[in-house]
C-alpha cells in the first residue's frame, strides 16, 4: 500500500519554481530517503505533504486520500528548523503537542511520562525547555514527533548538529520505528546515514527529480563492473597482470582495483582470479550513495 503519493506536483513562490513536476510514492513500512542539496526543495515537498502549503498543480494523496485533518493526526513531524516552547514545562508541552494531534489528554500524559522515562529524562519533566542542554532539547524534539504514535514519521534533517554518539542513537531510534511497522520519510544530505537506513530514495536537485528508486538498484545500476582485491602475497599481483581478460589494474595502496575487458563480467573474472592467486579480500564495487549524489549533482547542474 502506498502511504504517500505525489503525482506531477509543482509549486512556485513569487514566480520561482521550487518544485517541478514531481512524482513518487512511499510504501508502507519503508524508510524513504528524501535527498538533495540545500535549496533542492525538500522542505517545500514536506510542507506540501503536510498540507501546510498547497501545490500549484498536481495531486498529493496521503494514506490513499487527499490529506484531511484526521489524517494529519497520523503523521509525526520533526522539522528542520527545530522549535520548542522555551518557557513551558516539558511534560505540559509534550501533552499539548500530542493533544493537537488528536490524542486525549490522559493518553498524552501516559505517553509523555513513558517516553521521558525511556530516555531517562523523567526527572526533568517539570523543567522548562530553556533549562535543558542542547542534546536533551534534541531528544525532546524527537519525542514531540512520535508522542502521538504516528503511522508516518517525517524527519527533516534529523542528524543536523548531532555529535557521532547522538547520530548513532537517532539512527537506532529510526530503525526501532521501522521495526514497529512505521513508515519513515527521512530528509537528509548525510549520504552515509541515508545509504545505511533507506530502502528507497528520491533525489531532488533544483526542484526536479533526478534519481528515484530502491537504494540497492540505484547503486547496482551505477556499478562500475570492477573488483577490489587484496592479495596475501605481493608477488601475486604480477601473476594477475598476465591474465588476458583484464583490461586495467589500478593500485590503491594495499588493495588493487581490477577492470575486466569489455564483455566479461566481474563474476567471471573473479572465478579466474581465485584459481591464480591467494585472495585475502575481494568485493564487487558499487559506488556509494555519496559518490552517486555528487556525480548526479554535477551532471544535472551542468544542464
Amino acid at each position: 500500500m502506498h502511504i504517500v503519493e505525489f503525482e506531477n506536483v509543482s509549486k512556485s513562490f513569487s514566480e520561482k519554481n521550487i518544485l517541478e513536476d514531481i512524482s513518487f510514492s512511499v510504501r508502507q513500512g519503508e524508510i524513504f530517503g528524501l535527498l538533495g542539496p540545500n535549496g533542492a526543495g525538500k522542505t517545500t515537498l514536506i510542507r506540501l505533504l503536510l498540507d501546510i502549503i498547497r501545490p500549484d498543480s498536481g495531486e498529493i494523496r496521503v494514506f490513499g486520500d487527499f490529506l484531511n485533518p484526521v489524517a494529519k493526526n497520523r503523521i509525526g513531524y520533526l522539522p528542520e528548523e527545530r522549535g520548542l516552547y522555551r518557557k513551558t514545562g516539558l511534560l505540559d508541552m509534550l501533552v499539548y503537542l500530542a493533544q493537537l494531534k488528536g490524542m486525549s489528554k490522559k493518553q498524552a500524559h501516559l505517553n509523555a511520562e513513558f517516553l521521558l522515562k525511556s530516555l531517562e529524562l523523567d526527572q526533568y519533566k517539570n523543567k522548562k525547555v530553556e533549562e535543558l542542554s542542547k542534546g536533551m532539547q534534541q531528544k525532546i524534539q524527537f519525542l514531540s514527533a512520535i508522542i502521538h504514535e504516528p503511522e508516518l514519521v517525517i524527519l527533516d534533517e534529523p542528524f543536523s548538529g548531532l555529535d557521532p554518539v547522538s547520530t548513532k542513537t537517532v539512527m537506532a531510534r529510526i530503525l526501532e520505528l521501522k521495526a514497529a511497522g512505521k513508515t519513515i520519510i527521512l530528509s537528509t544530505h548525510m549520504m552515509e546515514q541515508a545509504q545505511t537506513l533507506c530502502d528507497r530514495i528520491l533525489m531532488l536537485n533544483k526542484g526536479r527529480r533526478v534519481l528515484y528508486g530502491p537504494v540497492d538498484d540505484i547503486r547496482r545500476e551505477r556499478g562500475k563492473n570492477s573488483l577490489i582485491v587484496e592479495f596475501a602475497e605481493k608477488g601475486d599481483l604480477n601473476a594477475i597482470r598476465k591474465i588476458s581478460s583484464i583490461k586495467k589494474v589500478i593500485e590503491h595502496g594495499k588493495s588493487v582495483e581490477i577492470f575486466p575487458e569489455e564483455g566479461i563480467s566481474a563474476q567471471t573474472l573473479l572465478e579466474e582470479l581465485v584459481q591464480k592467486a591467494n585472495l585475502l579480500r575481494f568485493e564487487k564495487t558499487f559506488p556509494s550513495l555519496n559518490e552517486i549524489f555528487i556525480e548526479t549533482l554535477e551532471s544535472t547542474s551542468n544542464e
Partner: protein
C-alpha cells in the same frame, strides 16, 4: 479523533492557561489597579497626614459691630466620605493691636485679624501671623469669616429665613424626567454612573484590549521566532490556530476586565456609591468583544508578517498609538462630545470603542450613531480577520527578511499559500 472545534478549543485552553500564568498578566491585573488607586488616594492620604490643629486666633474689631462667636468648628478639606478632620478655632478679642502682637509673639495665638474701620467700604480684613509657625490662612478661613460677617451685618435686620438663605443660597438637587413623565431624584451615584463609569470602563477596556492583544502579538511572534509554528501547522490549520488564540486571549481579557470592574465596584463602595447601569455594562461588553477581536486579529497578522518579537512590537506600536488617540483627546470628547471630531473618533474602528464609551458618558449619544459605530466595527473586524488569516497562512513560515508592503498587499488579495 478530535476535530474542529476540538483543536481550536485545545489551542484556546492552552493560550488561556499560559497567559494567566504570565508575570505580566498578574502584574497588569492585580498590581496595576492598586497602583491607580494609590495615585488617586495619594492626595487624600497626604492631607490626612497633616490634620488641621486646634487654634486660637485673635481679632481686633475696629468697627465695633462684629459678633464673633467664641469658637467655631473648622471642617478643613476633606475627600469623599472618609471621616472629616475637624478642628476647633477659638476667637480671642483684643482691644489694642499691640496686645494682639504680644500674644502672637508669646505664642498664645497663632495669628490675629484686624477688621479696619472702613471694612464696610473695602471688605478687607487683615491677618497677621508669624513668619514661621502654622496658622490657618485667610483662604482657609474665608468661608467661616464670610459667614460671621453676613450674620453680624444682617442679624436682627432681616428675618431668620432670609438670613439663612443669604448664608447658604442654593442647594441643587438633580432629577431625571422619565419617559412617562415621572421625576426621580438623581443622586451623586447616578451622576457618577452615567458619567464616570463609562469613562472608567473605556480606560479599562483600552488597557485590557492592549494587554491581551499584546499577549497575542507576543505569542505569535515568539512561536514564529522559535520555529514551533512549523510543528503547530503540521497538526492544525492556520485558522484553527488563529481562532484558538483569539478565543483564549479574549477569555483572558474578559477575566481581566471582570476583575477590574469588580475592583472598581467593590472599591468605590467606600469612596463613592456607584450604581452600574445595565446599558453601560452591555455596551462596554459589546465594545470590548469587538474591539478585542479587531485588535487581536490585527496583532496576529502583524506577528505573522514580522520576523521577530522586537520588530513586531515596533510595527504594532503604530496602531497602538492610533488606538490611544481617544485618551489623548479625552478632554475634548468630554467637553465637546457632539463635535465632528468626537463623532469621527467614535465611528472610526481603531478608536471607536473607547471614544464611543467616553461620549456616552458625556452626553446622550443618538442610538443611530451607536449602531453605526458598532456596524462599522463589525465590518472592520470581519475584514481584519480575513486579511490576517491570509497573512497568517502566507507569512508564518517565511523567516528572515520582513516582506515589503507591496508584496504583503499582493498576497492579501491573492491569498496564496
Amino acid at each position: 479523533m478530535n476535530n474542529f472545534p476540538g483543536k481550536t478549543f485545545i489551542v484556546a485552553q492552552h493560550e488561556f492557561l499560559k497567559t494567566i500564568k504570565r508575570k505580566e498578566f498578574l502584574f497588569m491585573t492585580f498590581f496595576f489597579p492598586l497602583l491607580l488607586a494609590g495615585f488617586s488616594l495619594l492626595p487624600a492620604m497626604l492631607s490626612g497626614m497633616n490634620p488641621a490643629e486646634d487654634q486660637k486666633i485673635g481679632y481686633i474689631d475696629m468697627t465695633g459691630s462684629f459678633g464673633f462667636p467664641e469658637s467655631i468648628q473648622n471642617e478643613g478639606l476633606s475627600l469623599g466620605s472618609s471621616e472629616t478632620k475637624t478642628s476647633v478655632i477659638e476667637f480671642v478679642k483684643y482691644e489694642e493691636t499691640s496686645d494682639a502682637k504680644q500674644a502672637l509673639q508669646a505664642g498664645q495665638i497663632s495669628s490675629y485679624l484686624v477688621i479696619p474701620e472702613d471694612f464696610l467700604e473695602t471688605g478687607t480684613i487683615e491677618q497677621y501671623s508669624l513668619e514661621k509657625g502654622s496658622s490657618l490662612t485667610g483662604f482657609e478661613l474665608s468661608a467661616e469669616l464670610s459667614d460671621i460677617v453676613v450674620t453680624s451685618l444682617l442679624k436682627g435686620k432681616v428675618n431668620e429665613s432670609i438670613l439663612n438663605r443669604v448664608r447658604d443660597p442654593v442647594n441643587i438637587k438633580f432629577y431625571n424626567v422619565g419617559e412617562s413623565g415621572e421625576s426621580s431624584e438623581r443622586s451623586i451615584a447616578d451622576i457618577f454612573a452615567s458619567f464616570g463609569l463609562p469613562i472608567i470602563t473605556a480606560f479599562l477596556l483600552l488597557f485590557s484590549i492592549f494587554s491581551s492583544s499584546g499577549f497575542l502579538l507576543r505569542g505569535v511572534a515568539e512561536e514564529k521566532e522559535n520555529r514551533i509554528i512549523e510543528i503547530l501547522l503540521s497538526s492544525v490549520t492556520p485558522s484553527e490556530i488563529l481562532t484558538g488564540k483569539i478565543l483564549g486571549l479574549g477569555a483572558v481579557g474578559l477575566l481581566q476586565i471582570g476583575i477590574w470592574l469588580a475592583a472598581v465596584v467593590f472599591g468605590s463602595g467606600y469612596a463613592l456609591p456607584v450604581k452600574i447601569e445595565p446599558n453601560t455594562l452591555f455596551f462596554a461588553l459589546v465594545y470590548f468583544v469587538l474591539g478585542f477581536l479587531f485588535f487581536a486579529s490585527m496583532m496576529a497578522g502583524i506577528g505573522a508578517v514580522t520576523g521577530s518579537l522586537q520588530e513586531s512590537q515596533q510595527v504594532a506600536g503604530i496602531f497602538t498609538f492610533a488606538a490611544a488617540l481617544p485618551l489623548i483627546f479625552m478632554q475634548l470628547i468630554l467637553t465637546n462630545p457632539e463635535s465632528p471630531f468626537s463623532v469621527f473618533l467614535s465611528l472610526f474602528p481603531l478608536t471607536s470603542p473607547v471614544a464611543m464609551l467616553t461620549r456616552m458618558g458625556a452626553t446622550t449619544v443618538p442610538i443611530s450613531q451607536i449602531l453605526a459605530s458598532i456596524f462599522i466595527l463589525l465590518i472592520s473586524v470581519h475584514v481584519v480577520i480575513l486579511l490576517s488569516s491570509r497573512l497568517f497562512r502566507t507569512y508564518l513560515l517565511m523567516y528572515g527578511k520582513r516582506p515589503k508592503v507591496k508584496e504583503i498587499w499582493k498576497n492579501i488579495w491573492t491569498g496564496s499559500r
